[in-house]
Amino acid sequence: MSRPKLERLARHEDRLDHCISCGYCYEHCPIYKETRWETDAPRAKLALCYGLITGALEPSEYIAGKLHECFHCKRCEASCSAGVNLTEIFAAARADLRDLGYSPAGTVSQTDHEVCARCLGCVRLCPHEARSFDPVLGQVVTDPVKCQGCGSCLDLCPRAGIEIRRSFGTDPRSQLEKVGCYLKEKAPLEPRAVVFSCSWSNWPGFQAAVGPPGASQRAHETLVTVCAGRLESRTLLETLKAGAWGLLVTACPPDDCEHGGSARARRRVEALWADLDALGVDRRRIALVEVPKGDAKAFGAAVSAFLEEVRTLGPLFPL
């Protein structure tokens, strides 16, 4: 039974019918690959939308939460040969759910009003016009329909007063944990390098299998970040400090980056180069390459070239 309360979503029912439910989107979704629950996969979120429209599912905090978890890398859309407009459908669902009173945190950026100085830098700089100042509340608020979870505001806030609560392994703490796990692996292959890969620019298409004993030795670890602009200098320096021989940041070409993050990543890396020079550390240990969206070949070539270079540099802290 269709209910007028979900009218934006109901307009997409035809497109939902076109999803043949093949599940080929699984291999592209960074959120599914992190949790590996099917309910977090793009196909399942479309199913939830369908369930809401048809009345098979009642709206709930849980469902609203799922539908607010998306980094909008749109890799599922690009790979969908049935042509389903997933993020548009999710936006419709978010708008309808907002009208029903749901406002889950999800991947929507949240402001700590205690810390916020109301400088409104985030409002001016949000590439998706998702942030605004609410004069009645006297607070900066995020529009959950417009926010794409790119994290630009987290990066820009001078008081570190913004967070994305559901980060799915893309926040600095999780990333450093994964770096630690990788570097602690027994006898990893050389060079021990880390690749921070923007989820828009690279397309590795890897799944979640765990290799056989011995073969799990990897010469490098790939960590998917949100936008490269969100990578903190501290994460990069800590990675070197933890024992990585070198690290590579992949970002979109600046003109392709929808979040202005690519240019910020470059400025940050350039600043780090100056620091490395001052410390007497070879600056080639931190590299940045721009990989066009979805170009797996360019990504693979960039990683190979970087590993080659780092191998010649050897370990940063020889035993």
Binding site: S2, I20, Y24, W37, T39, L57, A82, Q207, A209
Partner: protein, 504 residues
């Protein structure tokens, strides 16, 4: 169960439900058994895990993700004691409803068991847990110069466990066989919770009943595979892909028949008809020639002359049957280009026409090679008669034909027409000496025709099922025990809006 009546009403009615005497899972107990992090039981989770790539939909009562064999054993002991249905599931990419929990119960998400345990190059086998994705396995094997050959089109998400349970095959099966030809042995947890080792690690085995083979294609009804030992083969040094166009579907069908019967050894031999070509062009912008049919063929080997020889023979046969626009390539990039549309064809079919959605019905069958041309013609004849659009494509070199029904899923009458078309098509398949499923399995949507085809061995199958699973808790009401009408077996994944109030 086979109620006849108004198709519209049937399509929205509930499934027949389980016979009485089954228990329901206690989520608290499940959390104790496998850990709280590995249980999902929100209505949303139960809804999502109640679907796969088929037209069916049901609801699980809980989803459990075991991380090792011991957890599977503990869970099945509990399920046996309480008599709760357990439905093992890989990635849910099955097209016939195999993983749809028609009777509720616990869906066992096997993707948590995702380790490649051993690659043994000396003894030519690989040991894996069931949740390993096919493409991942091949990525791990590639550096050693070998590959795992069954490779269904869904290899990017399909798990090895699911492939075994379905006896999956794919484009290369014409030369390298189906999953059953790669399976050497496996560890299986029985319905009682007991762990047994079936088969061997050797290429051949004649030690009595081939129970490992019995698990292949059992669709989760006999046991839960928790480890599999599979063979692999060397990656050939040369692969050459060819494509030929045909103005008549029959000519393409005759070409297939002759290529195989003349003793050629293609590693790929695929048919794609006009509907599929149009859809691939619309979805992927491939710019393929919009002819009645195309054949894609490949030969591979370690010696280029041998590959050249096979390709030349196949080309000659294509030409003799009026094939034209023939091109070949050894180059990997060009080969991928030729083949790309085929790999993504299933979802692309939803783009054939705006109002038509691609449904997974009558999706898979085999006929003897000599009937291939006839079958292709029959598919379009049946589609036309029933006011539907159907495609003919598939790994015809291995005798496998796929179709899909493209229809307006919001109309009840289209579903009734689809049921007629499915029935007519499989009637032809049976009369021509073919079989109901080549590689997608039976599940729910092909069960009525499977039961007609296997009428004289259904009781034997039921006896086998009872021997493995006397309480009937493992994926009940599938295969030989599935309802007689797929359209009413479960709710459909689609809504017939001609009888609901239209959305504003």
């Amino acid at each position: 169960m086979n109620s006849q009546g108004d198709a519209k009403n049937q399509a929205v009615s509930m499934g027949p439900g389980l016979p009485s005497g089954y228990g329901t899972p206690d989520v608290g107990r499940l959390r104790e058994i496998v850990g709280a992090d590995n249980v999902a039981a929100d209505p949303a989770d139960c809804y999502v895990y109640g679907r796969d790539a088929s037209v069916h939909r049901a609801s699980a009562q809980a989803v459990v993700r075991p991380m090792d064999a011991a957890a599977v054993q503990a869970l099945l002991r509990y399920a046996s004691a309480e008599r709760i249905p357990v439905i093992p599931r890989g990635s849910g990419s099955g097209m016939s409803g195999q993983a749809v929990p028609i009777s509720g119960g616990i869906v066992l998400d096997m993707k948590g068991m995702n380790r490649i345990l051993e690659i043994n190059l000396a003894d030519v086998y690989v040991r894996v847990e069931p949740g390993v994705v096919d493409d991942d396995l091949n990525k791990a094997l590639r550096p050693h110069g070998v590959f795992y050959p069954p490779t269904p089109a869904s290899s990017r998400i399909a798990t090895i466990g699911g492939e075994i349970a379905n006896n999956a095959s794919g484009t290369r099966s014409v030369k390298y066989g189906a999953t059953r030809d790669s399976v050497l042995g496996m560890k299986v947890v029985l319905a009682s919770g007991e762990l047994v080792t079936l088969g061997s690690r050797t290429r051949v085995e004649a030690s009595g009943y081939q129970l490992a083979r019995l698990m292949v294609g059992s669709e989760g009804t006999l046991g839960v595979i928790v480890e599999a030992t599979m063979g692999f083969v060397p990656i050939p040094r040369f692969r050459c892909m060819g494509a030929a166009c045909f103005d008549r579907l029959e000519e393409a069908g005759e070409t297939i028949s002759e290529i195989i019967s003349s003793g050629c050894l293609p590693s790929v031999l695929e048919l794609v008809d006009k509907v599929a070509i149009l859809a691939a062009n619309a979805s992927l912008g491939l710019g393929l020639p919009e002819v009645e049919a195309m054949l894609l063929y490949e030969a591979d080997g370690m010696v280029k002359e041998a590959v050249d020889y096979e390709i030349a023979r196949m080309e000659e046969i294509c030409r003799r049957h009026q094939g034209f626009g023939i091109k070949h390539s050894y180059d990997e990039k060009e080969r991928m280009q030729i083949f790309y549309g085929r790999k993504k064809l299933f979802p692309a079919l939803s783009k054939y026409k705006d109002l038509l959605a691609c449904t997974s019905l009558a999706d898979d069958m085999t006929v003897p090679y000599s009937k291939m041309a006839d079958l292709a013609r029959k598919i379009h004849e049946i589609a036309e008669r029933n006011g539907l659009v159907m495609t003919a494509y598939g790994h015809c070199g291995s005798g496998c034909m796929h179709t899909k029904i493209l229809m307006d899923t919001s109309k009840g009458e289209q579903w009734a027409a689809a049921r007629r078309a499915v029935e007519e098509l499989y009637e032809y398949v049976r009369s021509s000496g073919g079989t109901t499923s080549a590689e997608h399995g039976i599940g729910l949507s092909k069960a009525p025709d499977f039961k007609r085809e296997k009428a004289d061995s259904l009781e034997l199958m039921r006896a086998v099922k009872r021997a493995f699973d006397p309480l009937n808790i493992l994926n009940p009401m599938k295969l030989q025990d599935a309802p007689d009408d797929w359209l009413t077996a479960t709710d459909l994944r689609y809504r017939q809006r001609d009888q609901a109030e239209p959305p504003r």
